[in-house]
Subunit: 462 residues, 2 copies
């Protein structure tokens, strides 16, 4: 028997002892765990660990910590910012097999799940109980990944993000200790808010192994509407007016004319390629009607036309599937091209400046783009398309990304509304927070992960 | 000139250099800063610093940190858990003069304030702009104190607590560094959630010097209702059914028959001394009507009677003032008595067990109590009255408090829904979170305040 010659070989040999074949060094499995959906260069992990319970995560982390071997958590691999790329190699920790729904408390509207549960899986499970989980990024992602990136989606304008949705966590710390944060109550004032510290920490402070979520009752009535505009300005200004009027829309989503072209082709939508708002209203039948009437009045005033209704669940389902497929539609628009995406979020009053400015920058740079936005939250994505495999094209795409983020920051916004920092947005973090805040974040990281084994190379600038 | 002989004397002498008369060692001022509204033994600080800006806070903390002198932040002195008692003496840091509203962005519904602003002051300021700040503890407290304790109040069931209301903070760290957390956007995924780490940290991790808050539009229509029941069970069960039906009540507050007796006497209310629910509905005129009809149907089914309406603003104002004065009313009920209060919060499905059980414990112990509750959140307060100045009476009151908390924890609840831990609830923290979580909290404290000068003796068990 060969004696292991490096720390990672030692870890692999020892982990085989309790994971068996679920610790894999197979080339194609490592390749699958070398990247997410983003354009960062892939990096192969030394091995992939398919864990099945908290104890295994704890043992593996204790082992990696003892030997200083990097661990990069992996869920569905849908990150758009390189979170899952194991830039320092080591172990890719695949949590997708931990996908049990452990508990649903219908009367308190909460549930306890494992991190590999996807949002689709959870909502399928809940439907019979009249409950739903509203946070819905576009991807078919795991809820563990959504906790890690503080994800949101189309419903956040009404129901909040993972920050509001996460009641408590089980977390394995870098050294293998297991802690339980938060609890089942709707509010608490019982010490430091560790739950919120781990939500959005991108796997750099601990590995989440259980998640308690707040759920919501399926609304008595739901209706969706689509409204098209001659100009992007009119669509954005309509959004701002709806939000400022305090109309409690459940969803208000923007697609520009390019995104509409892409989605019409990809999702076979029966709309014109014009700037478009997609809306949804939740409540009592009368309440839904009242909200819709109020929004239609504002939209009509702003020149919106063809306020089209999708009352039945199937039509609404098609509509929102098309919205969730926007990223794929954009990536399919120009043959041989793929996209990177911005994730700027600004105060709602600055949204028109931010979006129109981004569009002008794209036109000036001669770049093909598609814009979609969770505009009720002031968050929008410019998908910048470049010829796949063309490093100059990618560099020009990043240039435009930087320009759009810079304008967003100047307007009082943030570089990331929901995708997280990962690799791709690290360069903006100091500019956005200032060096003192970054120092505090680094101190917290060093406290919880003194050897720096957890998702190293992410979030912090080098 | 005498040479200072102790660290605190050194700090006092140096702080006089930039604070002048605003650094006071006057006996009556020290006495005013020796306690909150709770029954913990007062402790005199060595001096009281009335700071007026961030720079002064920064200089003072740097000085205290250099000399290892304790600093206990003080706002309005309304803590119910001993937060403001300077148990290790040193400096009481009075922030009440930092009470400027610095910025209101009506179109984005946010504002920037100093920590000494009270919630009454802010709402008076906002009213003309059609905005309001919903978080409303009973006391006439400062918003800085509300950040520190993660406070909530009667509107939290609809609008959330300080956790949701706080968008960002300026914080002075123990060594005098000034950081700015969060931002103006409604959501973000831009690194660790430092804002939420400081919210609820009870002045043990830093001193908050600016607060950015999320505001809400004053609803188009508001209506309040009062409904009385023959039994506490019926009132609590009505609450549970209203919440489980998903009716978006803005407020649903409980008072038991003893609290009603107290409030009828203290606030001259025209109701019977029976278990009572106080409700408020916010929305469009039709939406408010719909919510009220739905609640009335449930309440009537549960034997509720006299669904009394308070449509006009003045009548509603009287009602909610009486609710906010409940603590004072309870303290005035028995001559020569004062109260301590529990703050248990449980999952809504366990609320009846928790409240009825608490009442039975009180009866068995022969203790006079009044119960009020933010019952929509599963949070209730048992005010336990004991003869003022009677140590045995106080000890018996604490016994009952412990029994009520123990039941709350056994039901999946927390020892504090909104008052915080301070001195009074420290004993429950390990039981509630487990030793590993407490260890992490202590590590975070040591990272941000390595010399332990910030509000020492609070939150953590000795």
């Amino acid at each position: 028997m060969n004696r292991p010659t490096s720390p990672v070989e030692t870890v692999i040999a020892a982990a085989r002892g309790f994971l068996g074949d679920r610790l894999s060094t197979n080339a194609s499995i490592r390749e699958q765990h070398s990247k997410g959906e983003d354009a960062n260069p892939p990096v192969l992990p030394d091995a992939v660990a398919f864990v099945e319970n908290t104890e295994e995560v704890s043992k593996l982390l204790a082992l990696c910590n003892a030997h200083g071997v990097p661990v990069t958590p992996f869920g569905a691999g849908t990150s758009l910012e390189g979170h899952v790329v194991p830039v320092r190699r080591g172990i890719s920790l695949d949590l997708s097999r931990m996908n049990a729904v452990l508990e649903v408390n219908a009367e308190d509207m909460d549930c306890l799940i494992e991190p590999g549960v996807t949002r689709h899986q959870l909502n399928d499970y809940l439907r019979d109980q009249g409950l739903f989980f509203p946070v819905d990024p576009g991807a078919h992602c795991t809820i563990g990944g959504m906790v890690a990136t503080r994800a949101s989606g189309t419903n956040a304008v009404r129901y909040g993000t993972m920050r509001e949705a996460t009641l408590g966590l089980e977390v394995v710390l870098a050294d293998g200790r297991v802690i339980r944060t938060g609890g089942r109550t709707r509010k608490s004032a019982n010490g430091y808010d560790l739950t919120r510290l781990f939500v959005g920490s991108e796997g750099t402070l601990g590995v989440v192994t259980k998640i308690r979520l707040r759920l919501h009752g399926i609304p008595e009535a739901t209706s969706a509407a689509v409204c098209q505009f001659d100009s992007l300005e009119a669509a954005v200004e309509t959004t701002i007016m709806v939000m400022q009027a305090g109309i409690p829309v459940a969803r208000i989503e923007l697609a520009d004319e390019d995104q509409m072209r892409a989605s019409i082709a990809y999702s076979k939508l029966d709309f014109a390629p014009l700037p478009t708002l997609f809306l949804e209203f939740h409540g009592s039948p009368a309440g839904v009607q009242e909200q819709a009437t109020a929004v239609e009045a504002i939209a009509t005033e702003m020149g919106g036309r063809g306020f089209a209704w999708a009352e039945d669940a199937e039509a609404r389902g098609r509509l929102w599937k098309a919205r969730h497929d926007a990223w794929w539609a954009a990536n399919a628009l120009y043959p041989g091209c793929r996209g990177i995406t911005t994730d700027v979020c600004v105060p709602i009053s600055r949204l028109a400046e931010a979006i129109i400015g981004a569009k002008q920058d794209a036109v000036a740079a001669g770049q093909n783009t598609c814009i979609v936005g969770h505009v009720g939250d002031g968050n929008f994505h410019v998908v910048i398309l470049f010829p796949e495999g063309d490093p100059t094209g990618l560099e020009r795409a990043w240039d435009l990304d930087r320009a759009i983020v810079a304008r967003g920051l100047a307007l009082g916004g943030t570089c990331s509304g929901e995708h997280g920092i990962g690799l791709g947005k690290r360069q903006f973090l100091a500019q956005e927070h200032g060096p003192e805040v970054l120092e505090v974040m680094r101190d917290l990281k060093a406290t919880l992960d003194p050897k720096g084994i957890l998702n190293p190379g992410k979030l912090f600038p080098d």
